[in-house]
């Protein structure tokens, strides 16, 4: 489990206020997913998301990550829906005992197009914005600080837990426990691996809580922020325009098309 979700680049896209990036992505998703035709998400992917990805200088990683997300899914949906699409009547080909259904193919195509947009837009955001910055921006716009805290703290805790899991696995292996091999072996490996991991993580909670208290976590005052994160008037205007535009567009799609 590598932490490869954020790529630091010196692009213009990277310097945008995180909330602006979030709004761009959300607006695209709204317009794309409200459309009944799969052409719209596909088109948005090509004419909006792809250029932004290129601007953010993360094209290669974005392609890789999108492929990893989409490929197993695309294969599965194509296979299953062209073969078994419920109620399909037109088949365009048959392979042995199976008939390949036209409706199923279209359905699979539409689903893949929508998912391409969902994954593509989402990855644009994830790969170019550190979650801590995103939470920080949301906090500046009214997200309760405690919620921002748990999100970032959890993220930062993952590698620590990961390291602990590995050291436990090593220790258990040294004692002759097998965690690879047959199904039963793996099931048997479950408890000695996970029990110490979970129990030790839980036993830290009390000290973590006290340490938070010792740093005024529960103070009921307006918090300030050490790390500067600048929003601009212009971006704020753009955001509002995007939100309104997207809503109008999506409504039009649903009502007219």
């Amino acid at each position: 489990m590598k932490r490869s979700f954020f790529l630091l680049r010196s692009s213009g896209w990277h310097t945008l206020y995180p909330l602006t990036k979030l709004v761009v992505v959300m607006a695209v998703l709204l317009v794309g997913l409200a459309a009944p035709s799969p052409i719209v998400p596909l088109a948005l992917c090509v004419i909006v998301i792809l250029p932004l990805v290129a601007w953010a200088q993360i094209l290669r990683e974005w392609l890789r990550a999108s492929a990893i997300v989409l490929l197993p899914f695309a294969i599965s949906v194509l296979l299953i829906q062209t073969l078994f699409f419920p109620g399909a009547t037109h088949s365009f080909m048959s392979v042995g005992p199976f008939a390949l259904k036209e409706e199923g193919l279209f359905f699979a195509f539409g689903t893949i197009a929508r998912l391409l947009l969902l994954a593509g837009a989402g990855l644009l955001l994830l790969l170019s914005t550190h979650p801590a910055d995103m939470m920080h921006a949301l906090e500046q716009h009214g997200l309760p600080p405690a919620l921002a805290y748990i999100a970032v703290a959890a993220l930062e805790l993952v590698p620590q837990m990961q390291a602990r899991a590995e050291s436990i696995a090593d220790a258990q292996r040294a004692r002759g426990l097998e965690i690879e091999g047959s199904f039963l072996t793996r099931v048997r490996g479950l408890v000695p691996l996970l029990a110490p991991l979970v129990l030790s993580a839980l036993s830290d909670v009390d000290e973590r809580a006290m340490a938070l208290e010792a740093r005024a976590f529960s103070a009921r005052r307006a918090k300030t922020s050490f790390k500067p994160l600048v929003d601009t008037k212009r971006q704020s205007v753009i955001r509002w325009c995007l939100v309104c535009g997207a809503i109008v567009f999506a409504a039009a799609e649903v009502l007219i098309l």
Partner: protein, 288 residues
């Protein structure tokens, strides 16, 4: 100044008190070491000084704890933290975990208190400098060595500018190099700032060197209270589950063998021990 007025405390759903009738006063600027066997109540004592008892741990508290004349039970924890700072054992558990750099981590407490940004920057810089961490200010807290991490934990507390510092086994997770780093930073800090320190530490050699008062707890009660010399050389120390310093042990062994004069006190620190053993070699008459 800290005052315990007949403090007895039991954790929720327990009968046996974890602190028993503790009555004492700690003057400003003193270094107090707290010793005792496992479960003697050292951490509980610390928690009571810092107000975690009764704010964080419920349970039954009798008597009063006063910090700078205010009753801790009547002051919210978030206000107490600017008077009493608390440093724990494990540095990793003390970090907020939600900050990506050392400087941001150090600022966390100030953010919570709503300190303006300019003041925050100034205080963070000062605290990092006291702890010798200026050069790593932009690194991830998790990329530091153990000793550095514990110094950062200290810096995180020092930014709040407490007058009293409570340290509960701050070096138990560190090797000797890390321990030395932490104590050296602490010493230089105290030389420049008049802080009161309450320290739980099993390594009595360190205490002999730094503390000017030692408390020994047993089953929640203060059983010994005095200067390091009195307490660390006390005959009951081992019985109370505390290891005397290796110098005391050596001298006591020498006394049991009849080499060390029984009317002479036992040393607790290295210099005294050296001096004591040196005197043994000189003829009786010319001892100063």
């Amino acid at each position: 100044m800290i005052r315990f007025e007949r403090v007895t405390y039991s954790y929720p759903q327990t009968k046996r008190p974890a602190l028993r009738d503790v009555q004492l006063q700690i003057d400003e600027g003193s270094w107090v070491a707290v010793l005792g066997a496992n479960g003697a109540g050292k951490s509980t004592f610390c928690a009571a000084v810092a107000g975690f008892i009764p704010h964080h741990f419920r349970g039954e508290l009798y008597g009063r704890v006063l910090v700078n004349r205010t009753d801790t039970a009547a002051t919210p924890l978030s206000e107490l933290v600017t008077q009493v700072g608390f440093v724990f054992q494990n540095p990793l558990n003390q970090f907020s975990g939600a900050k990506l750099t050392v400087a941001e981590e150090a600022a966390f407490g100030l953010e919570n208190l709503g300190v303006p940004r300019e003041a925050m920057i100034r205080r963070v810089e000062a605290a990092l400098e006291w702890m010798g961490l200026q050069t790593v200010a932009d690194r991830s807290p998790y990329a530091l060595s153990g000793g550095e991490q514990q110094r950062l934990a200290l810096a995180c507390i020092l930014v709040l500018e407490p007058r009293i510092l409570v340290l509960d086994e701050p070096t138990s997770q560190l090797d000797s190099a890390g321990t030395r780093e932490v104590y050296d930073s602490l010493r230089s800090l105290l030389a420049s700032r008049h802080l009161t320190v309450i320290l739980v530490e099993h390594k009595t050699e360190w205490i002999a060197q730094y503390a000017d008062r030692v408390l020994v707890l047993n089953e929640g009660a203060v059983v010994l209270d005095g200067s390091p010399r009195e307490v660390l050389a006390h005959a009951d120390l081992s019985r109370l589950g505390v290891n005397p310093t290796r110098y005391t042990i050596a001298a006591r062994a020498a006394r049991d063998l009849g080499i060390w004069p029984s009317d002479r006190g036992l040393p607790v620190a290295l210099e005294e021990a050296v001096e004591g053993f040196r005197l043994l070699q000189e003829p009786e008459g010319i001892r100063p």
